[in-house]
């Protein structure tokens, strides 16, 4: 059993008052009379001598019937369908995610949500205020708390839908902090319910009203797109694409692959309802550029009908192996393919010419600034050493990490390892009970893979997993990989690009707009540009260099934009917001109050009669 208003238990404090009434002695006036004979007859006649009597007009009876009727009526819990009592502060959260572009409600869900929000603004009464938040990939405060309707209207009009996901948890947390000190505040979420980030948001009695927009789901979406080197033919590129049919019927569509404006391939596909079709296009690529995949089916949500991916041509990775002689490691590196390997006994002072430096138990005089695979050596401030560990058993490894893809470390034995504490900058990939054995991470902007034991004092080089790990490591450490990743960002996430030292400003051209100059922080060699709300190709240029970054809207949750009746919150699902636009105004409290008043009146009336 639960209580809606446990605080009402305080009304139990009225029970002693009733007891007090009964403790009060009725003060009777002593009156000497000639004889009580007549009074006894009077009492005998007025008391019930028969089980029934003729119903007489008695105001007490009417009062008691009224009291009972009120109590019964109150117990039926009557309510009016209406809006809740106007709260002094409302936080309007407008979902500006990609799914709100769906046109199942004309002109779009976003516009429908905006008009409903505007209606709430129009209903603003004096003394009430509103806050407008836009929940896209980032939560933006469009208007802080104000009673000015014009300002609120302007803020809502200025809100624009994005191609990114809605981080609703972030928006709700912000709204929660805004209403923290206001007891009768409300949060109104105007959304289709296709939102993310609520898994970790526990609803602690948040006064949330969910205004649902959207009616149906009719969407065919490109849900993933990736470009790799064709494993069977290194001269070819393989474009992987997934097309999901999120409608209730099979869809026959055509998927087109384009590169730099040219159509390379067209494929008809038929996708059953609710299924996802994976396609692989094998094409040759001559220059860095953008692959675009689109399907031709008209649906309600057009933003996910096409997607692009920036593909950079693979270049041989330059690797410097600094080793006193480790044929296993050398052969493993050479087997990676597309590797330009140089082997030296001592590290040169300047290693800027190499993409990856492998330090095999040789401490360099000057630590390289590039990415490093270090075996048993480490820059002094990387680790806090705890001493050597003898024969550490391998107990666990992080198989989900890209470095350990297809790597199985069963039967790997190590004679001795350097004992260190897990650093903050890194992730432990392989661990023993006493110490981490392999750590990977980024120190500053330098990627580091650290192996804490002598490879030749272990049997790992003899295992199949070793060359695979080295291949994964070289790919992960290859700056081109990082660069390619940085050329493809999700809508709403910032574009981060390395720029030469001394660059003060970078020009960025969002799709369909002109060049904009973005300042680079002094002393920084990285451009950070956050205005990636729309998908497409963002031009970036500094000096004479010009490149492009592809912003992609790929998000299964946004594509699967079924209007949801309930928003699941938290891990346990116990806190569910409702679609109630209006609350049932229960009025039983009023009836209970009136019944109480009638009771008191009856008490007074009875005593007045007998007084």
């Amino acid at each position: 059993m639960n209580f809606l208003t446990p605080l009402a238990a305080w009304f139990a404090a009225t029970i002693p008052v009733v007891v007090l009434f009964y403790l009060l002695k009725r003060r009777r006036v002593v009156l000497k009379v000639p004889s009580t004979v007549l009074w006894q007859k009077y009492l005998a006649e007025t008391q019930a001598s028969a089980p029934f009597q003729k119903l007489r007009k008695n105001w007490l009876l009417f009062l008691q019937i009224l009291l009972l009727a009120l109590a019964v009526f109150g117990l039926t819990r009557p309510f009016f369908a209406g809006q809740q009592t106007p709260s002094s502060l409302r936080v309007l959260i407008l979902d500006a995610s990609a799914s709100m572009q769906s046109s199942d409600v004309a002109p779009s869900r976003f516009e429908a949500a905006r008009s409903e929000a505007l209606r709430w603004v129009d209903g603003l009464k004096p003394g009430q205020s509103m806050v407008v938040l836009q929940a896209g990939p980032r939560t933006e405060v469009r208007q802080s708390a104000t009673s000015d309707r014009q300002a609120l209207r302007r803020a809502l009009q200025a809100a624009a839908v994005t191609d990114g996901p809605a981080r609703a948890g972030e928006a709700l947390k912000m709204a929660e902090s805004l209403i923290r000190d206001v007891s009768d505040a409300e949060i109104h979420l105007f959304s289709d319910g296709a939102i993310s980030g609520l898994e970790t948001f526990e609803n602690h009695n948040l006064p949330l009203v969910f205004h649902r927009v959207g009616e149906r789901l009719n969407n065919v979406a490109i849900t993933s797109l990736d470009v790799r080197t064709n494993p069977e033919n290194p001269n070819q590129r393989a474009v992987f694409a997934s097309v999901a049919n999120l409608t209730a019927a099979p869809v026959a569509t055509t998927v087109e692959l384009g590169f730099a404006g040219d159509t390379l391939d067209v494929r008809p596909v038929t996708i059953p309802a609710g299924e996802t079709e994976s396609l692989v296009f094998l094409v040759s690529q001559q220059a860095d550029g953008e692959f675009t995949v689109r399907h031709t089916t008209a649906d309600d949500l057009s933003v996910d009908n096409q997607s692009s991916v920036m593909s950079l041509l693979p270049r041989p990775v330059k690797v410097l192996l600094v080793s006193r002689g480790n044929r296993f490691l050398e052969k493993a590196i050479r087997s990676v393919g597309a590797v330009d390997l140089s082997t030296v006994g001592e590290a040169p002072l300047d290693t800027a010419a190499w993409d990856v430096v492998v330090l095999d138990d040789v401490a360099p005089t000057v630590w390289p600034r590039g990415n490093v695979l270090a075996v048993r050596v480490a820059e002094p401030d990387w680790f806090e050493a705890t001493g050597a560990v003898r024969a550490p058993p391998v107990v666990d490894w992080k198989s989900t990490h890209p470095l350990l893809r297809f790597v199985n470390l069963d039967n790997v034995q190590v004679a001795e390892a350097s004992g260190v504490k897990t650093p903050r900058w890194g992730t432990v990939l392989v661990e023993s009970p006493q110490t981490p054995l392999v750590v990977a991470g980024e120190v500053g902007r330098q990627r580091v893979v650290w192996i804490g034991f002598d490879l030749l004092a272990s049997n790992w080089p003899l295992r199949v997993s070793f060359p695979m790990f080295v291949a994964n490591a070289i790919e992960w450490l290859n700056p081109a990989t990082t660069s390619a990743e940085r050329r493809n960002v999700r809508a709403g996430e910032p574009i981060r690009l390395d720029v030469p030292e001394g660059t003060t400003a970078v020009d960025v051209r969002p799709p369909g707009e002109g060049w904009r100059s973005i300042p680079v922080n002094q002393g920084s060699t990285e451009l950070v540009f956050g205005g990636t709300d729309r998908q497409g190709s963002y031009g970036v240029r500094w000096g004479t260099n010009e490149t492009a970054v592809v912003v992609r809207a790929l998000d299964v949750q946004e594509s699967n934009s079924t209007p949801r009746k309930e928003i699941q919150m938290g891990r346990y699902g116990g806190t569910v917001a409702t679609t109630m636009r209006s609350a049932n105004l229960e009025i039983w409290r009023w009836f209970a109050g009136v019944a109480l008043a009638v009771l008191l009146f009856e008490w007074w009336f009875y005593h007045r009669r007998t007084a």
Binding site: V30, K32, P34, S35, T36, W39
Partner: protein, 313 residues
């Protein structure tokens, strides 16, 4: 005190009245009431045959002339009418404005005066009997009790208009108080009375044990009974409301009542029912009944109401 009980004007008016006896007197004392006995009044009653030894002065010579037979003329004997006035002097009679007892004894004085004027023998019996203990409790001296006893005994067997003044004075001196048992008192009085006659009961008839046994005892003794119920105005229409603890003035019994103005009507109905039952009881037994409240004008009761109910004529 006589002045306070009955005014001279009222006495003059009462001179015009006489008590109506319901039946012929059975008294043995000579008086002015017709009786079944044959005697020496001037009222002819009957003839009977002469027998040796009869007074020859009563021979009807005219009849002898016509019939040639000797007859003796018989005349009615006029006897006195014993009037017994039963006056309730219990504590309950001390209520009302004026008190019920006061009003009742003025009525009794008036009726007694009328009877004395009619040469009837009047006895006023106050009940309950005087209780020296209760008098002592009230802080009165023994002389007061003795005086009260003397006044009460002086009210017994009064006859003749000459004694009327003393009779009224004595009646004005008696006091009410004590716990009365209506039935027992009337029963004892009936037993003590030598000759039955007219019995007039002045009481509120609010005894917890009822009134039937006492009145029946009087009837059984051969009295012609009249009952005058004297009530106080507040008994008919109470003026005290709220949560009351009523204390019976005689028994001391308590009764808790919650009473309000809205219930006055119901109470009045109860009183009416009580009186109606009493009236029916009396009618069934040939008892004259009359109810009066203590605040009524005495003259109107005597000259109008009691004449209407055939006590006075």
């Amino acid at each position: 005190m006589s002045e306070s009980l009955l005014s001279a004007k009222l006495l003059r008016q009462l001179d015009q009245l006489e008590l109506r006896a319901g039946r012929r007197s059975k008294s043995s004392g000579r008086g002015e009431r017709r009786s079944k006995a044959r005697g020496h009044s001037v009222e002819f009653a009957d003839h009977r045959s002469y027998v040796a030894g009869d007074d020859v002065r009563r021979l009807d010579w005219n009849l002898y002339g016509r019939l040639d037979r000797l007859f003796i003329k018989l005349y009615e004997e006029e006897r006195e009418l014993p009037v017994q006035i039963f006056l309730d002097a219990s504590e309950s009679m001390t209520f009302g404005t004026p008190t019920k007892f006061d009003f009742a004894r003025r009525l009794a004085a008036a009726v007694g005066y009328v009877a004395l004027c009619g040469f009837d023998r009047v006895t006023v019996r106050l009940f309950p009997e005087l209780n020296p203990g209760s008098a002592g409790e009230r802080g009165e001296n023994a002389g007061g009790v003795l005086g009260e006893a003397a006044y009460r005994s002086a009210l017994r067997g009064v006859q003749g208009k000459k004694l009327a003044t003393g009779f009224i004075q004595n009646l004005g001196r008696v006091r009410a108080g004590g716990v009365g048992d209506f039935n027992e008192s009337l029963r004892l009085c009936a037993l003590q009375t030598r000759q039955a006659g007219l019995a007039i009961v002045f009481s509120d008839l609010l005894d917890p044990k009822g009134y039937a046994a006492g009145l029946d005892a009087l009837l059984a003794r051969g009295f012609h009974v009249h009952v005058v119920q004297v009530m106080a105005r507040e008994e008919l229409e109470p003026v005290s409301f709220g949560d009351l603890r009523l204390v019976d003035s005689e028994t001391g019994g308590e009764q808790e009542v919650t009473f309000g103005r809205f219930r006055v009507k119901a109470y009045r109905q109860v009183v009416e029912n009580y009186t109606q039952k009493l009236r029916e009881f009396c009618r069934a037994r040939g008892i004259g009944f009359f109810r009066v409240t203590s605040d009524t004008m005495l003259e109107s009761v005597l000259l109008k109401d009691l004449r209407e109910c055939a006590l006075l004529a």
